[in-house]
């Protein structure tokens, strides 16, 4: 029996299935769910990227610090290789590129990539005639980086390399350019310097579209090639001198110099030793060289990554604090009230402990005021200030007044200079010591923060560390009365100046007292005396920071090129360089001679002081 009702049921079922199909087609064809379009393009077109030349890095006078040059490379369009012509190409490559093994050639010819580089072209005109009969060959100009001045700007300009997976994500063009700034300005300004890669679109083995690469933008910097040469030579001379005069366990070889313009805050020179030749990275550095340089820690830029106790160069913070807070040693009420420095300080803390602190000069400095304490780097005067702070504010909220002053001019944090991997430094206080009790118990005593720690801090010793760039920027901030970031490229600098609480009178007084350091009676007089009367117009501060164990002291000097018209702050540090006045001061003197347009005299060993 034929059942019409059931036929209708079957046909209705069919209609609903058609409806399901239509719904599915609507989703696929009209809504286009998922990444259908990109998958279609991926299946249809292969793209290949030609690296763009990086922008030039120039010094303030337009000298090229980093440039890009080109090499011609022979490429092969692998989709045009067939079983019939494979042998021709194999033979051509074997004949012209003897350094390639048969295995490597097979790899090239069977590559999945649409275009593969065969090798550099040495005789371009010959190759040009050759490739007329080899349809799969193509020639592209591939850029490479050149650092004309070799080692001179190794750290500050940096170098480039093949990007890691993380860098490919972080720096947009790095993957397609196969290059990224690894350090220095090359890294900080990678998105300015890296150009737009060229794009080759291939469909069915034919190049259907070609967009040439666009070179990256030029980066103008405040660096000065001639000054940098003088600075590096002076530092090398100074380090040699230190090695001759000190009998250290290991060779003295690390040091850094920062020269900062006072009016703008620009960095005009930055040198770190030991250094390396960044061109080695471009040609491919040998494993031996790399390990050797790495063992010397030559890749560190000590100007921004060297963490040293600042020693007496830190005393300017107390100088500023004493004037600003009217806070002088017991028995002194004014700037020029004198106390007697007997070479040691014995005192009693609230907890009853009796302590004796010995100055670096055993006989003492005699009768000193704030100015002469800077001049002669008298520790006792500053310890007295520390005692006064401890007794006035001890365990109150204002206990960290010295640290607050230091932090307000940038100690203990990054200066945010336009360079990567800058270190923070440490300004210790009670909270930090409490924290270290759990995180780094080897560094602190069970009692925590004590008065002795504050006395250490005020003369730049103990747990405090600072980078040369921090010291430079701190001095510059005190001289101009406001703090901002130091920088190398004014084009991309965003000013963010903060006024600091220092009167113009106190700024003048600071410069005057720094002037006394290089004058007769000052710790750096011997190093600067060769300048004659001009040394009266130059200022500075020596620093000799003690290191744990048998390590020689860290040698510091901060110079001001002119007191009447301060233009530059010069910070010199030599790791294990011993006395600041003996090594770093004469290095600074030679740099100041250059900055003032004077004849430069050799770096000579100065007086050993603190």
């Amino acid at each position: 029996m034929f059942n019409s009702k059931r036929l209708n049921i079957v046909l209705s079922l069919a209609l609903s299935l058609f409806f399901i199909i239509i719904l599915n087609l609507y989703n696929i064809q009209i809504n286009k769910q998922g990444d259908v379009e990109s998958e279609i393009l991926r299946q249809n077109f292969q793209t290949f990227y030609i690296p763009a030349a990086r922008g030039d890095i120039l010094d303030v006078n337009g000298n090229e610090l980093a440039t890009s040059k080109f090499k011609s490379y022979l490429y092969i369009n692998t989709s045009k290789i067939s079983d019939e012509n494979r042998n021709y190409y194999q033979q051509y490559i074997e004949y012209n590129y003897e350094n390639l093994s048969t295995n490597e050639i097979t790899k090239i010819l069977q590559s999945n990539s649409p275009l593969v580089a065969v090798g550099e072209i040495l005789d371009k005109s010959k190759t040009l005639t050759d490739i007329n009969s080899y349809q799969a060959f193509l020639i592209y100009e591939i850029p490479y980086r050149v650092y004309e001045n070799n080692k001179l700007f190794a750290h500050v300009v940096g170098y480039t390399g093949v990007p890691t997976l993380e860098e490919e994500v972080k720096f947009i063009n790095s993957k397609r350019n196969n290059t990224v700034g690894k350090n220095g300005l090359e890294r900080a300004y990678d998105n300015v310097l890296s150009g737009t890669p060229g794009k080759i679109t291939i469909k069915n083995g034919e190049i259907v579209d070609y967009t040439p690469p666009i070179k990256g933008q030029t980066l103008k910097t405040s660096l000065d090639l001639n000054l940098q040469t003088v600075v590096r030579n002076s530092l090398v001379e100074g380090i040699d001198l230190a090695n001759k005069n000190f009998d250290t366990e290991s060779l003295i070889q690390r040091g850094a110099v920062v020269v900062q313009k006072i009016d703008t805050g620009e960095i005009v020179s930055m040198v770190s030793l030991p250094d390396f030749n960044p061109n080695q990275f471009i040609e491919g550095i040998s494993n031996y060289d790399f390990i050797k340089l790495n063992r010397e820690k030559a890749f560190n830029n000590y100007a921004i990554q060297g963490l040293y106790p600042p020693g007496s160069v830190f005393k300017v913070v107390a100088h500023w604090l004493a004037l600003n807070e009217n806070l002088y040693p017991e028995g002194a009420n004014f700037y020029d009230d004198k106390i007697d420095c007997e070479g040691s300080l014995s005192f009693r803390f609230n907890d009853g402990s009796q302590q004796v602190y010995k100055d670096w000069k055993i006989d003492g400095h005699g009768s000193v005021d704030l100015g002469t304490s800077i001049q002669k780097s008298c520790n006792v005067y500053f310890w007295d200030i520390a005692l006064k702070i401890w007794r006035t504010y001890g365990e109150s909220e204002s206990e960290s007044i010295l640290q607050d002053y230091a932090k307000s001019i940038g100690f203990g944090t990054q200066t945010l200079i336009d360079l990567p991997f800058e270190k923070f430094g440490v300004i210790p206080d009670r909270d930090l010591f409490e924290e270290w009790k759990t995180t780094r118990p080897e560094l602190v005593r069970a009692e925590g923060w004590l008065g002795g720690d504050l006395m250490n801090l005020i003369i730049g010793q103990g747990a405090i560390t600072a980078t040369p760039i921090q010291v430079s920027n701190a001095y510059r901030s005190l001289v101009v009365g406001q703090k901002d970031k130091p920088y190398l490229s004014s084009e991309y600098f965003e000013p963010n100046a903060k006024e600091i609480d220092i009167t113009s009178g106190d700024r003048k007084l600071l410069l005057d007292d720094l002037g006394k350091v290089t004058d007769r009676g000052g710790t750096a007089f011997k190093s600067f005396s060769i300048m004659g009367d001009i040394s009266k117009d130059v200022g500075g501060k020596t620093g000799t920071a003690q290191n744990p164990g048998d390590l020689n002291d860290t040698s510091w000097f901060v110079g001001i090129d002119s007191l009447s018209d301060p233009k530059f702050v010069i910070v010199v540090v030599v790791e294990e360089g011993g006395s600041g006045s003996a090594v770093s001061a004469p290095i600074t003197r030679r740099i100041i001679q250059y900055l003032r347009g004077l004849d430069m005299t050799p770096v000579e060993f100065g007086e050993v002081t603190e």
Binding site: F2, V10, L11, A14, I22, L25, Q29, I30, V36, N44
Partner: protein, 355 residues
């Protein structure tokens, strides 16, 4: 039963609706293949030329079956079943190709007997259901045919035939309880076959892959190609193409979707739905029970093939290799479908329906 004189064309001898439906579907397949291949060469290795030749042969078959009365078909059904059984038996002794024995290689063309079996089984079952006295040998013949196709192996066609038999039983007032029993027992029967490793392992893998997260390459590619069609066809760029395996046969629908878009798909399905509704009216009108089952059977067969094909292309069911009637390239499928259309045409004429 019918004394009308049959002529080749025109209101007197041909139902215009059936004939034009048949022609339009053939022309669509030509146009579709032309857009896909972009070439027409006059030799049989060119797919478009092949399809045109088969279509023209199909027109001949259409008219051949228009000249055979429904009564003759009724009387010939046992002969047809016997020929089908012989051909299916013989095909098992041919050269294996792609893991199966499905076709006779006649040089320039292949003959795939299972395509004709589909049409023959509709005729045989229609007669079986229409008769009051049941012939047990018919049942045996039908089972033999299905088994022989299963042994090729051709799981897709086996499935189509089983659904066809089931639906024909359904519209023949068979008791629901019996149908449910059939359904359940075939489910366990299939499981038993799986257990006994009698199912080709490639086909088992297709099924297990479908229920895991492995996307079949052909189905993924087909969806990409369908999306290219957009609303009105090839919307992005003429240069863009997507590679789809077995494009001209099993996956012809994705090419059609790319060429004619969403609207083209709606148009194609509308043609088939209109056709089915038109035939349904005839089925309801006819007094001849064999004819009712025969026409319903053809419509059901066409729809099963369309659904299995389109569902496969859309990735809604595991991969099966079934043609889309009159759209896929393939001589046997076109000729078999043409015969069915010819029989439908004859039926319209015998019922004095010319338009």
């Amino acid at each position: 039963m019918n004394s009308r004189e049959i002529t080749l064309i025109g209101p007197e001898g041909t139902n215009l609706f059936v004939f034009f439906q048949f022609l339009i579907l053939n022309l669509i397949s030509w146009f579709n293949l032309y857009l896909l291949e972009n070439t027409l060469e006059f030799n049989l290795s060119n797919v478009l030329f092949r399809q045109i030749i088969f279509s023209l042969l199909g027109v001949a078959v259409f008219f051949l079956f228009t000249y055979i009365s429904i009564n003759n078909i009724y009387n010939l059904s046992e002969v047809l079943l016997f020929s089908s059984t012989v051909l299916l038996f013989g095909v098992l002794f041919t050269q294996e190709s792609l893991g199966a024995r499905r076709r006779y290689d006649l040089g320039i063309i292949d003959v795939q007997p299972s395509e004709f079996t589909k049409i023959i089984l509709v005729i045989v079952i229609a007669k079986f259901l229409a008769e009051s006295s049941k012939n047990i040998w018919i049942i045996a013949g039908v089972i033999a045919n299905v088994l022989l196709i299963f042994l090729q192996p051709d799981l897709g066609t086996t499935l189509i035939l089983l659904i066809l038999i089931f639906l024909l039983m359904f519209i023949s007032s068979t008791r629901i309880i019996f149908l449910v029993t059939v359904l359940i027992s075939s489910f366990f029967g299939f499981l038993a076959l799986l257990e006994l490793n009698l199912v080709n392992r490639f086909q088992v893998k297709r099924i297990t892959d479908f229920y895991s997260d492995i996307q079949d390459f052909s189905q993924t590619q087909a969806r990409l190609q369908i999306s290219l069609g957009g609303l009105t066809g090839q919307s992005i760029d003429e240069n863009i193409s997507i590679f789809v395996p077995v494009q001209t046969t099993d996956f012809i629908f994705s090419a059609f979707s790319k060429n004619f878009g969403f609207l083209g798909n709606i148009m194609l399905f509308s043609l088939w739905v209109l056709f089915a509704l038109r035939v349904r009216r005839l089925v309801l009108k006819s007094d001849y029970v064999f004819e009712k089952f025969l026409l319903s059977g053809f419509i059901i067969l066409f729809f099963i093939q369309i659904f299995i094909n389109v569902f496969t292309v859309l990735g809604l069911i595991p991969l099966t290799g079934d043609p889309f009637p009159l759209l896929s390239l393939g001589g046997s499928s076109i000729l078999a479908t043409s015969a069915a259309f010819g029989i439908i045409n004859r039926s319209f004429i015998e019922n004095n329906l010319t338009i």
